[in-house]
């Protein structure tokens, strides 16, 4: 790395010349007038001439991303990207381009700071924070009862997974046991949520690569699932349905027929997508060999989920650390070989099929019983009991005014969200509110890995790569 000239990064030379002195003007009156205007309007705001040639943007300044020694250690192998351009560029030909935060292909308010050499990307810097709402600080002011309303708004495409991770963390501190039916309902909802999230990915991936009809198909099929969610939880998104202690309510009457219909409709839809994409020469050309990331880079950068699986890492938290009794159901973990956008497409489509298989198994083996723990310190009593039991009234009042206390300790619980490992780190000091809640969100790592996938590829591949990462900016910024 060090013996080759570092032309890729285009280092700026340190300033050596003094600021040039102003030439004397003959017309002193005109000079005086200019000076007055200058004093009135711009004095104190201008920067020396030698500074104008480059910018100092603080957090938004570019870095030498590719000269990262740690990545070189982890990489071990060379990246095989079809579109690597070997020729070095002149500094004069480098061009800075800002993509986003309003660009429609950045899936939200992601901003990319690109350094381009013609059509080739030399450096990328993702700039995030446009959607930061301080949810981790907010969580410290909410009780554990209220906490799930907060976390469900982070990753708005897979709210059930956020709620599940939060609930698992709280329950592991409480030591609460969840009845089998509650666990099965959780599995049903999270797997359906995985399908609906992947359908949005399929819709946006198609649209970004020119298959606009895919947008319509994806959102059409997702709508069936969202309607079912609305029937179960009352809301299409941000459900606050999976709560510490179980789920908020039992499934409504007739849910079996609804789920059966969803499985049938979405399965038919998925085979339509495969028909649309698999043999499509444009889609293949724009995805095969694009946005490659190796398994070593995935490990070093913390990339998880379908992206890591597409690189050949056979890892799924549902298999490795099973939660909510998901190990009772049979499913396969699909993997790819090349770690490019095409493999991520194949992995996600296969995951949709596997998730529908799990949903089918839940449908056939749904146990009877309670849907939440009967510990009255955690779950509110049934409405009828409040009228007849003083104790039930007290429990209800205490739960909804001050919440329940959680034993002191700290825990990290992770679930496999549609995007990857979604972890909740909760520190409790023994009171009703978490002392600290940290969400380890997969999109945060994936946005961080974008430069690794993009560097030395072409501008047109940016949209394909971002879409294949499926970032949710609410998940990144929190």
């Amino acid at each position: 790395m060090s013996d080759t000239p570092n032309v890729v990064t285009g280092d700026f030379e340190a300033p050596t010349t003094e600021p040039p002195s102003q030439p004397e003007t003959a017309d002193s009156a005109a000079a005086e007038a200019r000076r007055e205007i200058h004093d009135m309007w711009v004095a104190g705001t201008e920067e020396p001439a030698w500074m104008r040639s480059y910018t100092n943007e603080g957090a938004q300044e570019m870095l030498e991303a590719e000269s990262d020694p740690a990545l070189e250690i982890h990489r071990g192998t060379t990246v095989t990207d079809d579109f690597i351009v070997e020729e070095p560029a002149d500094d004069d030909e480098l061009q800075i381009l800002n993509m986003g935060p309003q660009h429609p292909s950045t899936h939200g308010v992601l901003r990319l700071h690109l350094e381009l050499d013609g059509e080739t990307i030399r450096r990328v810097k993702p700039i995030i924070g446009y959607l930061h709402t301080g949810m981790e600080k907010t969580a410290e002011t909410l009780t554990y009862m209220q906490g799930s309303t907060n976390v469900t708004r982070m990753d708005y495409l897979s709210p059930f997974h956020m709620e599940l991770a939060f609930s698992l963390a709280v329950e592991s501190l409480l030591g609460a046991e969840i009845p089998e039916r509650g666990q099965a309902i959780r599995v049903l909802l999270t797997e359906l949520n995985r399908v609906s999230s992947h359908l949005v990915w399929a819709a946006t991936q198609g649209t970004d690569l020119g298959a606009v009809s895919m947008m319509i198909y994806g959102f059409r099929d997702r709508e069936y699932i969202l309607q079912f969610f609305e029937k179960v939880t009352g809301l299409r998104m941000n459900h606050n349905f999976i709560r510490p202690g179980g789920v908020a309510a039992d499934l409504p009457d007739g849910w079996e027929e609804d789920v059966d219909e969803i499985i049938e409709k979405v399965s038919r839809g998925v085979s339509e997508y495969e028909e649309l994409f698999n043999g499509n020469p444009i889609f293949r050309d724009r995805t095969i060999g694009v946005g490659v990331i190796t398994p070593e880079e995935c490990k070093a950068l913390g990339v998880s989920g379908p992206i890591a699986r597409a690189s050949g890492i056979k890892w799924d938290l549902r298999k490795a650390f099973p939660y909510s009794g998901i190990d009772k159901y049979e499913f396969e973990v699909p993997t790819g070989k090349h770690g490019d956008v095409w493999d991520r497409y194949l992995v996600r489509i296969e995951e949709v099929k596997q998730s529908l298989g799990i949903v089918r198994q839940v449908l056939e083996t749904m146990p009877a019983g309670d849907y939440r723990t009967l510990d009255r310190k955690v779950t509110p009593p049934p409405r009828k009991r409040i009228d007849e039991s003083m104790e039930a009234l007290i429990h209800h009042f205490k739960l909804f005014t001050s919440g329940f206390k959680v034993p002191a300790g700290e825990t990290y619980q992770a679930v496999e969200s549609p995007r990857g490992e979604l972890g909740m780190y909760i520190v409790s000091d023994g009171r009703e509110r978490p002392w600290r809640m940290h969400a380890r969100t997969p999109s945060f790592n994936h946005v961080q890995a974008l430069p690794t996938m993009m560097t030395d590829s072409l501008v047109a591949d940016i949209v394909a790569t971002i879409a294949s990462c499926d970032p949710v900016l609410g998940d990144v910024d929190r």
Binding site: G58, A59, Q60, E61, L63, E64, D68, P69, A70, L71, H74, I128, G129, H132, G134, E136, K137, T138, T141, S172, K299, A300, L301, G302, V303, I313, W315, A320, F321, G409, T411, Y412, A414, E421, G423, Y425, V427, W435, R436, H438, R440, F444, N445, V447, Q448, A449, D477, R478
Partner: protein
């Protein structure tokens, strides 16, 4: 021998906790051994970077804590590393040389807690604006409020 056992052999003095279900192994590491320990953990098999975050314990000494989560794929195991950081000099060495994935997380911890990671290539604010004052996730940074004036409700006719 699992990754955790070989790591425990290399650090006989260190306290390993095993909490909860599924087992979570927690290592309390002094700040001066931190970088070395993470590098050894990576060599021992915990080669997947998962998470890094700060915690403010306010009245405890040391006041801050940096929590690093690592993962081993085969056999599946988690390791949580907790390092105390003093309030008057909140400096830790950066992990980006070992795990480039720590880059954004350390920027986040710097942004929200003011913990400085020495040697970090780009230690700037990540989620807050560059000119933001203070570090919001510290416990002495109040949530604040915006005064809202409600109009009087219209009287019943």
């Amino acid at each position: 021998m699992s990754a955790l056992e070989s790591l425990a052999d290399a650090y006989p003095d260190l306290v390993f906790e095993h909490v909860l279900d599924p087992p979570q192994s927690v290592a309390h590491v002094p700040a001066d051994a931190y970088l070395d320990f993470v590098a050894n953990a990576r060599a021992a098999g915990f080669d997947v970077f998962v998470d890094l975050c700060g915690v403010d314990y306010l009245r405890r000494d040391p006041r801050f804590e940096v929590v690093v989560n690592l993962l081993s794929y085969d056999p599946p195991a988690r390791l949580r590393i907790r390092v105390g950081v003093a309030a008057d000099d909140p400096v830790l060495p950066t992990l980006t040389e070992t795990f480039p994935g720590a880059n954004f997380y350390e920027r986040e911890a710097f942004d929200l807690f003011g913990i400085v990671f020495a040697g970090h290539p780009d230690l700037t604010r990540i989620v807050l604006p560059d000119d933001w004052e203070g570090h919001p996730l510290r416990k002495d940074y109040s949530v604040g409020s915006v005064p809202v004036r409600f109009k009087e409700s219209p009287k019943a006719q």
